[in-house]
Amino acid sequence: MSLTNPPSSGSLSRRTATVGPGPLKRSIDDTYDSRPSGAPGYTSKVRVRDRYHIVGFISSGTYGRVYKALGKNGQKGEFAIKKFKPDKEGETIQYTGLSQSAIREMALCTELSHANVVQLEEIILEDKCIFMVFEYTEHDLLQIIHHHTQPQRHPIGARMVRSILFQLLNGLLYLHTNWVLHRDLKPANILVTSSGAIRVGDLGLARLFYKPLNSLFSGDKVVVTIWYRAPELLLGSRHYTPAVDMWAVGCIFAELLSLRPIFKGEEAKMDSKKTVPFQRNQMMKIVEILGLPRKESWPGLVSMPEYTQLQSMVLHRQPPHYHRGANLEGWYQNCLKNGGYSSSSSVGTPGTDGFNLLSRMLEYDPTKRITAEEALQHPYFSNGGPISGDCFDGIESKYPHRRVTQDDNDIRSGSLPGTKRSGLPDDSLMRASKRLRE
């Protein structure tokens, strides 16, 4: 079976790629000059430059770059064009086969259609590159959270948090009922339109979980940016379930309230043997707030591949809070206090319903964790009046527009943790646990 999961070309490039956007004009133009004229073979029937006017650069990642564009020739509107970086062999760009994640994203986005999932306009395959054309979204949660820390911290209103969360869960329910796992939910991937609609974005890691041929584990070994990674994944679980997305939603909920990642761990890097290390520091951050997971409340815990690592954590360091039990409630109350959330202020408060929902999302046992469907029925949403489909409803202040640049040295989104896809080794990696078993 060693040959069934070779590294795809895309995942290889992911590790080596860093993210400085090239000069905009050159980058878009490059793709047109690479083909010798008159060469036979594939030619796109649609040309990006015929259909869109590129106005600037938005962001880059290991997958490639995103540009802002305007429709041409009667096609109205603003668009975000994601250009997948082709693999280079030497100096010239060659067809080297598309990465599995690009294929997944293209195929899934083509099928999906929901008010809370980013809308794909079209895909253009042209001159060895893939251009995925999406609707343009003016904001994202990372940028909104960041805005609330400038120039000093001021909380995101409770009504707005509730609308964001409701829409996010609505989009996620749609994905989950269609057997799609997102696997990389984080503030930067939650897009917000100028009219306050939430769109779950970046399905680059999403995949179907209906009876896959190979277990979901054997594909990409580790997913989800580390701060939003569910404990069962940290403990080496082989089974991805929708619960991993729900954990990430819990982390995002907490971050909307506190304006800081709730579990801001440091990622342990892969060693030279390319084994995925146990993410001790990240696990510790979770334990510091939730207390240690216990086998009484999480029966599956003892069969987790990294269970021994968890036990060694207890043996080596025993700060008092390890045994004090869960204090998420303490964290929450503190967070409300610091943020100035209260029913008597204009900010409002998510209240005890909010705490209850958060604690059910940050449930250790994935089988007990609240589902998107259950969450949408939670008192947090059913109590306290109608929820606006515009998360900016009733908000005076304006959020800054997405930064669109013309220059080539803006690596803003690439350098911020939480905006890049970290911890995504290629497909050929073995986990420590697997190595031990063999």
């Binding site: 999961n5 073979g41 294929i103 997944r104 395959l125």
Partner: protein
């Protein structure tokens, strides 16, 4: 939708009526009448059998699952509704369909490995340059409008297994009938659940007398049993009984007929599919691998499509 057939691109964009499919192909032919008369090809189904055998050969050396082969076959069908086969190198197209299907069905293979294997099988038609396959992948995805998620009848079959209390022999036969339906136009003409029901009907009505273990392979058992059935006409009587919904015949079949009547499944489509399958088994008797190979080889070589 990704897992909902009813909202899927498969239903919205890749489901043809017989007329529409014939029209689409006529248009392709009219575009290039000269080549058509120059290079007559065997019956499409015979070509499909040949392509399927090549895919299986390719897959065998990589221990690929049947579902990826099935997806590759659907990709081929879709591609050739938009492109004249005589303008392509079918070996390259089928290798590419295989490579792409493996990625979609979560059993990816490295491009170099696929090209290497394909070259081992068809050295005259596959160049060592992986860029050729990469380029063909673009063409394939583009022609399919990135609509790459395929809904297969296998899933419906396993879902209905319990409800219809199907035995393992019946399941095996139904499974092989589903495998065989990819050799026809049926995947472009019917939703997967119709095919699954058709396969179940065939398995229950035409179940071979002995258990399937007696045959060397389920596929062969389906083919040989069914070809016999098609000849002696007994099956047709069964089908007529189904259409009447009168529920005559053995209790096992009565029960199935009753279930069908209650399920609101398009029985006409099921019967038509069954007939399509029976006629496949008739055509199959004329199949000659050598013959297909020669036709395609001559076409590719004389038009330099392998370059």
């Amino acid at each position: 939708m990704a897992a909902n057939y009813w909202a899927s691109t498969q239903r919205r964009h890749w489901l043809f009526t017989r007329e529409k499919l014939a029209e689409t192909r006529d248009r392709l032919r009219d575009r290039d009448k000269v080549t058509h008369s120059q290079f007559p090809l065997p019956d499409q189904r015979l070509l499909n059998i040949y392509f399927n055998q090549q895919l299986i050969k390719l897959g065998k050396r990589m221990s690929t699952r049947q579902q990826a082969i099935a997806t590759a076959q659907v990709y081929l069908k879709r591609f050739y509704t938009k492109n004249e086969i005589r303008q392509t190198n079918p070996y390259l197209v089928l290798t590419t369909a295989f490579y792409l299907a493996c990625k979609m069905e979560e059993c990816p293979q490295h491009i170099r490995f696929v090209v290497g294997e394909a070259r081992g099988l068809w050295p005259e038609f596959i160049t060592p340059d992986v860029a050729k396959l990469g380029e063909c992948e673009f063409a394939l995805i583009s022609e399919m409008n990135s609509q790459l998620i395929i809904h297969h009848p296998y899933r419906t079959l396993s879902e209905l297994q319990t409800e219809l209390s199907l035995g393992s022999g019946e399941i095996a036969l139904a499974w092989s009938v589903i495998n065989d339906h990819y050799l026809t136009d049926l995947p472009l003409l019917n939703p997967p659940h119709i095919i699954a029901v058709m396969a179940i009907v065939v398995a229950v009505v035409f179940k071979p007398p002995s258990h399937p273990g007696a045959f060397s392979s389920p596929a062969q058992s389906a083919q040989s049993t069914m070809a016999g059935v098609a000849r002696d006409g007994n099956g047709m009587n069964m089908l007529a009984a189904l259409a009447d919904r009168t529920g005559t015949g053995p209790p096992r079949i009565q029960k199935l007929v009753q279930w069908l009547a209650e399920s609101e499944i398009d029985i006409k489509a099921v019967i038509e599919s069954t007939q399509e399958l029976l006629s496949l088994y008739e055509v199959w008797e004329q199949y000659s691998e050598k013959h297909c190979k020669e036709f395609i080889g001559r076409m590719v070589k004389s038009k330099n499509l392998d370059k």
